[in-house]
């Protein structure tokens, strides 16, 4: 019996020492991998998550690996599996399109914590967390300001494919614009691609030809649209990251994702032995979403005031956007 108890204790000790929480608590660097669709400095979706992890690195010893540019889902799936095999503690699949792959891969690596977004679905798996941005909230604020700015009564939106946080942002923007000015012409153009920069540029030109004098857009391909807007000096509202440096003359404000807010929670849960099964989101209230204004842009104070009121309204719950 004594021998059995000793063996059991040794086994439990070994299991404890090998568990992720023990590794985390032991002071070893947390190994985090990010798999993302576009370049890590795209001033948009991918950069936002990289910035999030880098913000946490100030307080936490993190060994970070990044595989970016995986527009092809199969490439992303191979990278996700590879990082899991290499024993990374947290593997972040940063793209709605990676959900199907993650659902297949995660059960093979029960000791690895996976996080993916933007989505609310954890597939019922104990080691998969999901995260979402309430981008409709920032979209609403931008829409309010865009409608308040528009002199022609027309605003235009360029979207990629109608999914994930892109859809939320676009819907929120249109809702905010109409709330500010019910007669506003808010036209939306989903170009059907996350990566076609040339088509995004032409979509912006199509909006301008149709009478839009304020534009916005979401996803990585909007760099083309920003260029087209810049050529005509048409105001632009950014999202996902601060896009001011792409066109300081026309970018009014940007909705910026602070993923570190939820990443901290995910890691704290991992420290407590919870590897998944939870959904996290960033929003205006938890400061996971912030509106950053371009100080160089001469914005009418009344427009900024309308935006600030919308932010306050969303935070106190008096304004409900389309999210959830």
């Amino acid at each position: 019996m004594k021998k059995f108890n000793l063996s059991l204790s040794a086994l439990l000790l070994a299991l404890f020492l090998l568990s992720p929480s023990a590794l985390l608590a032991s002071g070893k660097a947390l190994r985090v991998a990010i798999i993302a669709p576009s370049a890590q400095n795209d001033l948009a979706f991918t950069q936002s998550i990289v910035d999030g992890i880098n913000a946490i690195k100030k307080d936490r010893d993190i060994e970070l690996a990044i595989t970016d540019g995986t527009f092809v889902v199969e490439d992303a799936a191979a990278a996700i599996r590879d990082y899991a095999k290499k024993g990374y503690d947290l593997v972040i699949a940063h793209g709605s399109q990676y959900g199907g792959s993650l659902k297949e891969i995660a059960p093979d690596f029960p000791d690895t914590a996976f996080a993916w977004g933007t989505s609310a679905d954890t597939f019922g798996l104990p080691n998969v967390s999901s995260y979402e941005a309430a981008s409709d909230q920032g979209g609403y604020v931008m829409g309010v300001m865009a409608a308040a700015m528009s002199k022609k009564g027309g605003v235009g939106v360029i979207g990629p494919i109608e999914v994930g946080d892109a859809k939320l942002y676009v819907d929120g923007f249109v809702m905010g614009a109409k709330a500010q000015n019910p007669k506003i012409r808010a036209k939306v153009n989903y170009i059907g691609s996350f990566s076609d920069v040339a088509l995004a540029a032409e979509a912006a030109r199509a909006h301008m030809a149709a009478g839009a004098d304020v534009l916005t857009g979401t996803a990585q391909m909007v760099v083309g649209a920003i260029g087209a807007a810049r050529a005509k000096r048409v105001a632009w509202f950014g999202t996902q990251a601060n896009q001011t440096e792409l066109a300081p003359e026309i970018v009014v404000a940007s909705q910026v994702y602070k993923w570190e807010v939820i990443l901290k929670k995910i890691i704290a849960d991992m420290d407590n032995g919870v590897k998944g099964g939870k959904m996290y989101d960033i929003n205006l209230a938890n400061n996971g979403i912030v509106i950053e204004f371009n100080d160089a842009y001469k914005l009418d104070p009344a427009v900024k005031e309308a935006g600030m009121k919308a932010i306050a309204g969303i935070k106190d719950g008096s304004i409900v956007t389309s999210h959830k």
């Binding site: 109608e162 939306v188 040339a198 149709a210 260029g227 440096e245």
Partner: protein, 310 residues
């Protein structure tokens, strides 16, 4: 919608179609030249990407758009020499080596961008040319004569290439070795030199296509071309290997893209059908290819390496 507004939208749509067609036209003209000589190059997209990055980086450093165009062309010419060497001297399988060039261009352009630029920084694109009298014409002026110089270079190359292909000895040699290299060789035409030149010029045009794209957009980012080079190859078949046909194919593709965009903007195409509509240019190209494939014959020696006495 008032009549004048409708006209304005139609004008904007056609102008948009012409702009969208331009990089396809440049790349497919180059590919048509190579294929006419009997060499397939599936690496067009990779060459475009390297040309795009080279042009973008040059403009970023020099603030000179013309230097950018020249660097784009030079990169294309250089890759052309390399591609000609591996397909003609080493007689590598053309399909596989083309894909190799594409993958090299895709990876290398991104690597260079990350290494030397990092975060995307905008460059100022070409301004529309102000052509005396023509630019000021109502309707037609905005539709056809308010484009950047790149658009005119691309469309200007169509008659030039037609002339070269159909009215010069050099063009006759290219067509002859694309159909029957043995016969051309027996008449004293250097198959190697002619193919070398066609491949190099073709790749130069692909480099220019990439440069034109980056400069028109005023930015570079990973995989900027978004597989445009592969569409350009399809457009060569669409255009039955003739410069005029390739131009028509590029315009059809660009115009369909522009019409779909405009229809989406005005809600003519519902959002639920948005993704489906985005496929329209590709579907129309495939349908046209099916029709063209039945009516025209590709160069007989296409993809076949030539060995004297072999």
């Amino acid at each position: 919608m008032s009549d004048s507004f409708a006209v304005m939208i139609i004008v904007a749509t056609i102008a948009s179609g012409i702009r969208l067609a331009t990089p396809f036209l440049l790349a497919s003209l180059g590919e048509a030249l190579g294929q006419r000589s009997g060499v397939l190059n599936l690496g067009v997209d990779g060459v475009m990407l390297l040309g795009a990055f080279g042009a973008y980086y040059t403009v970023l450093q020099s603030n000179n758009l013309y230097y950018g165009l020249l660097v784009g062309i030079a990169i294309g010419l250089l890759i052309g020499v390399f591609y000609a060497f591996i397909t003609l001297n080493l007689q590598a399988e053309q399909g596989v080596s083309g894909i190799g060039i594409y993958l090299f261009g895709l990876g290398m352009s991104d690597l260079l961008f990350q290494k030397f630029v990092g975060t995307p920084r905008p460059i100022l694109p070409f301004m529309p040319l102000d052509i005396p009298v023509l630019s000021g014409l109502p309707v037609v002026g905005e539709m056809l004569f308010q484009h950047s110089i790149i658009v005119y270079i691309a469309f200007g190359l169509v008659p030039v290439m037609s002339f070269v292909l159909y009215r010069t000895t050099y063009g006759l040699n290219i067509r002859a070795i694309g159909e029957n290299p043995e016969a051309a060789d027996s008449l004293g035409v250097s198959v190697m030199a002619t193919r070398y030149s066609a491949i190099i010029i073709g790749n130069g045009l692909a480099g220019l296509a990439g440069a034109a794209l980056a400069i028109e957009l005023g930015i570079f980012q990973q995989n900027l071309t978004n597989a445009m080079g592969f569409i350009a190859i399809a457009l060569v078949y669409f255009g039955a290997w003739s410069p005029k046909g390739v131009m028509i194919g590029s315009l059809v593709f660009g115009l369909v893209q522009a019409i779909v965009l405009q229809c989406k903007t005005f809600g003519v195409i519902p959002r639920s059908a948005s993704d489906l509509a985005a496929m329209a240019p590709a579907i129309i190209t495939i349908l046209a290819l099916v029709v063209v494939a039945k009516r025209f014959k590709q160069p007989s020696a296409l993809t076949k390496p030539y060995v004297r006495g072999g």
